[in-house]
């Protein structure tokens, strides 16, 4: 078909760097060979899944997309992917297995990704082959006061090789998270996570930087690590638990999937096939440094070779949508043991959390009583509205409405209707590619704590309390600092006003996603600037774990958000200060008012009306401040700093796509905020 008629195939991917460049080149090569054209679109990784899920069913998606195979279970359930009929036999069986469900293949494997042991060949001659050897190497380095290895053991993905080695699993088995293998693996995590030769809180930045600087000669990482450092590196399979128990890391297969809604399926399949073909695979291996999924193409990059060397032990990442819930639960257990907790009780806790996160979707209920109630409510509301108008005897003048209509109309269309659609989801739950009507079950579950204690992290009421404290603290700091700075900048005798003003709006100007991450880095317990500065300040070492306790994590979040938020209030206050009549201030001065009295009794009452909308909306945004909590504390410790909105997000995106449950959460957030806005407007009216 591709030969008969030229087609334009749209290809989506979320790769970056050399891998993306190699992919693009391979795609063009493959398409040209068939006489088709290809448009390669790089999508930000964070938006990739949502885009696939929304775009493909509406016919706006790609024809082919490149992604890790982990999402396959959900994609098939949503009907996004088309099966592959003629999978080449040259693929590694484990790769072919990974892209198959129920004996049917759904993607053309391109490359393999898994954890390997990366080491610095200039420092390490023979890399450790067992965990004991690794520990011994660490002990030797630690004795010299040096770091030896970095292993992001707080993440389930990084401990998984040993869970598997010991015969455990994350999903698929009954009570998988509290199996003996899990407990033993948690003990391993504890042993190495608290090893003196290991940096505290090894985030990917710490790992990368430690290796790049030569301080840490051994790291647990994957083929992608090659792009991050310029230092010479080598790799071997991960150390085994013992000679008969090799490490068995997760395998992610990046594959070319064909959309079930591809505009020209023939050309799409041909492109996917060509991308997985020998020629393209060789190109990806050579230019992109990836581990090829084909047996007939050799890995080139040292890290890729190590992946291929581990091939026999690799465990394909499960495509079960419950995996993310298992990881969330498991991550809690991990942090628990890393703080010194007992592995057995941590594992039991993880299993409990997992059970809560994956509790069954409420049963379907009849929808007609709701429809009836809704209709009655609508009639009553209309009646009340007209009654109100009648008693008020306001004149209906179309001229008045004309002025509001553009703004109200645009808002109603682009905010109101999507809102109603989103809100209506609260009565449903997603099941496969359809929706099940569950009535008010979600609300009952959320408000009455059907799944666990009413007052603990992950419960609505706990998150509400945290959110309220969070909002109040932020607002006080934003308004206090913003207003204080505005008043100071407004003083006629300030020197360097323009420079100050320019510098003070910078936190607002620089994209917050990045600066929030910079703050997260600064709050790192060992490498972060905050602890270092505190140490300089008080003259001795400081090693506050900024995600270790509620207070520390909350403070870190609060500091970041205050830094991000005060410029907005400052700018609003600067504008509002301009509207304070100078005579009034002068009059108060003449009346003998001190600076504070002038501010309190003259400036503030005049400012307030102009500030109220900013305060109201500022509080709404803070209430829903998603980025900061997700990026800085990540909800740590154990969900204690989660806000309502991050809880809602987790239900919508990382806990098995409970979109309906998330919508119910969002609606409750809205109710709380509406109540709050009434209070604020009253305040403003006074």
């Amino acid at each position: 078909m591709g030969l008969a008629q030229a087609a334009d195939v749209v290809l989506w991917h979320s790769m970056r760097g050399a891998e993306a460049d190699a992919l693009e080149a391979a795609a063009h090569m493959a398409a040209t060979a068939q006489g088709d054209a290809v448009s390669v679109v790089g999508i930000p990784f964070g938006a990739f899944d949502t885009k696939l899920e929304t775009a493909i069913p509406h016919g706006n998606g790609p024809d082919v997309f490149i992604a890790g195979h982990g999402g396959l279970g959900a994609w098939r359930e949503l009907g996004l992917v088309a099966p592959v009929v003629d999978l080449d036999l040259a693929f590694w069986p484990v790769a072919a297995d990974a892209v198959s469900l129920d004996g049917r293949a759904y993607g053309q494997p391109l490359s393999l990704k898994s954890l390997v042991l990366v080491y610095d060949p200039t420092q390490v001659e023979s890399p450790p082959q067992t965990l004991d050897a690794l520990a011994a190497y660490g002990d030797a380095r630690a004795a010299k006061g040096e770091l030896a290895f970095a292993w992001m053991v707080a993440e389930p993905y990084f401990l998984a090789p040993y869970v598997h080695a010991l015969g455990g699993a994350f999903v698929g088995a009954d009570r998988a998270l509290e199996s003996d293998a899990q407990r033993a693996a948690l003990a391993i995590a504890q042993r190495f996570g608290r090893h003196p030769a290991m940096p505290a809180q090894p985030t990917s930045d710490v790992v990368r930087n430690g290796f790049a600087s030569g301080d840490i000669p051994i790291v647990f990482s994957g083929p992608w690590f090659a792009a991050e450092v310029t230092r010479p590196l080598a790799a071997v399979p991960l150390p085994a638990v013992s000679s008969d128990l090799p490490a068995r890391p997760f395998l992610t297969v990046d594959a070319a999937f064909v959309s079930a809604h591809a505009r020209s399926p023939g050309a799409a399949h041909a492109l996917a096939r060509a991308l997985a073909g020998v020629e393209a695979a060789r190109r990806l291996a050579e230019e992109g440094g990836v581990a090829p999924a084909r047996r007939d193409v050799d890995a080139v990059a040292p890290l890729a070779k190590a992946v291929v060397a581990s091939i026999d032990g690799l465990v394909p990442m499960p495509t079960d949508p419950g995996l993310s819930s298992a990881f969330e639960a498991h991550a809690r257990a991990l942090r628990d043991v890393l703080r010194g907790g007992d592995p057995a009780s941590a594992a039991a806790g993880a299993q409990r959390t997992f059970d809560v996160l994956t509790r069954p979707i409420p049963p379907a209920v009849a929808s007609w009583p709701y429809v009836l109630a809704l209709a009655l409510a609508a009639v009553a509301a209309l009646g009340a509205g007209f009654g109100h108008l009648w008693t008020q005897r306001k004149r209906l003048s179309s001229g008045d409405w004309l002025w509001v209509a553009p703004g109200a109309g645009a808002t109603a269309l682009l905010v109101g209707i999507p809102f109603l659609w989103g809100a209506s989801r609260a009565l449903y739950e997603r099941v496969g590619d359809g929706w099940r009507f569950v009535g008010l079950a979600h609300f009952g579950d959320i408000l009455l704590g059907g799944h666990g204690p009413l007052w603990a992290p992950m419960s609505f009421w706990y998150a509400l309390a945290v959110t309220v404290v969070w909002t109040a603290a932020n607002l006080a700091l934003h308004v206090g600092i913003g207003l204080g700075l505005a008043v100071a900048l407004n003083a006629p005798w300030i020197w360097g006003r323009t420079a100050f003003r320019a510098i003070l709006i910078l936190p607002w100007a620089v994209p917050s996603y990045l600066t929030a991450l910079v703050w997260k880095g600064m709050f790192h317990s060992q490498m972060g600037a905050i602890n270092a500065l505190l140490a300089i300040g008080i003259g001795r070492d400081v090693d506050i774990d900024w995600t270790g306790s509620f207070l520390a994590a909350f403070t870190a979040n609060l500091t970041t958000n205050t830094w991000l938020g005060f410029p907005f209030m400052m700018v609003v206050a600067l504008g509002a200060l301009a509207s304070v009549p100078k005579d009034l201030v002068d009059a108060a001065t003449v009346d003998g008012a001190t600076g504070w009295q002038r501010f309190r009794h003259v400036v503030w009452p005049t400012l307030l009306p102009a500030m109220i909308p900013a305060i109201l909306l500022g509080s709404v945004w803070t209430f829903n401040a998603f980025n900061v909590v997700m990026l800085v504390s990540g909800g740590e410790p154990n969900g204690a700093t989660e806000l309502l909105v991050t809880e809602s997000w987790r239900w919508a995106f990382s806990r098995g796509h409970r979109t309906g449950y998330a919508a119910a959460y969002a609606l409750l957030v809205m109710v709380v905020l509406l109540a709050w806005s009434r209070v604020t407007t009253r305040m403003g009216a006074r």
Binding site: A55, N209, W224, P406, V415, I503, A578, L674
Partner: protein, 273 residues
């Protein structure tokens, strides 16, 4: 003018200086990251292994195109948002018509719904309107999402404006349009500047909706292009930082261009002096 005491002046300048250092410190990290090969560590944000690669990488066509797209989108969204909201704000502040309180409450209500749940419905909405993947669609979405805030802010300013001026204009024979355009808009310049900057920034830094709604790489805005350097396995922070610097420059320029409006008196001379 009342003279200010020296300790007071020193204290205020000291506080401003501290605030400036705190504001700059993380930004300095971004700058250092933009010119470093690896991550920057320690207390002093100074580049390790300096490199120009990240900044040079910005010369790539897609960054420049995205910058232009973002400027067009954010400016149009700010202007459209202001146009929609300033009229509504005036009506809500001054006219007494049925449904007024309800409309006001409705504007606030739209802000309280977490955006997390909005991206997908918005996608469906724009798809239905045939505006998906079109910059016009994005402009309308940004304008609409900033309207509630703008309406509220501008209404606050209208509330603070003496009613006499509008009444004088009415008696001078000016209709509503004339009063609005000749008398009120010029008076509201500072408010429009502040609100406009807000609308602009709202659109400028937005990433989630842009990434969800746009699939055509030619239509990508700057945040979408920047976010591409964050992947599943690690991220290219140097490139991200370099791009962020580029993204911040127009904001700073805009603030400077409009800052005289922030300071200019709103109603000087309007009422008895």
């Amino acid at each position: 003018m009342k003279p200010v005491s020296l300790p007071m002046a020193l204290a205020v300048h000291g506080a401003l200086l501290i605030a400036a250092v705190v504001a700059l410190y993380p930004v300095a990290w971004v700058l250092a990251m933009a010119v470093s090969v690896g991550p920057v560590t320690g207390v002093v944000p100074w580049p390790t292994e300096p490199t120009w690669t990240h900044l040079a990488g910005l010369a790539r066509g897609d960054v420049a195109a995205a910058l232009v797209t973002s400027i067009v989108v954010a400016t149009s969204a700010a202007l459209a948002g202001l146009a929609f909201s300033v009229t509504a704000a005036w009506a809500l502040a001054r006219f007494d018509f049925p449904g007024r309180d309800l409309t006001l409450a409705g504007f606030v209500a739209t802000q309280t719904f977490p955006g997390v749940v909005m991206a997908v419905p918005l996608y469906l909405m724009l798809d239905a309107l045939g505006l998906l993947d079109r910059l016009l669609g994005l402009v309308l979405v940004y304008a609409a999402t900033s309207i509630p805030f703008s309406v509220w802010t501008l209404k606050g300013w209208f509330d603070g404006l003496p009613k006499d001026l509008e009444e004088a204009a009415m008696l001078d024979g000016a209709g509503r349009f004339r009063t609005f355009f000749s008398v009120l808009l010029p008076l509201l310049r500072p408010a429009l500047a502040v609100t406009g900057v807000f609308c602009f920034l709202n659109a400028w830094n937005e990433y989630v909706l842009a990434a969800t709604l746009l699939s055509d790489p030619r239509a990508f805005t700057l945040p979408v292009v920047l976010q591409r350097s964050v992947g599943d396995y690690g991220a290219d922070w140097g490139a991200f930082a370099a791009g962020s610097i580029v993204a911040s420059l127009p904001v700073i320029v805009l603030f400077f261009a409009l800052q005289k409006h922030f300071i200019g008196g709103l109603t000087a001379g309007a009422v008895k002096g």
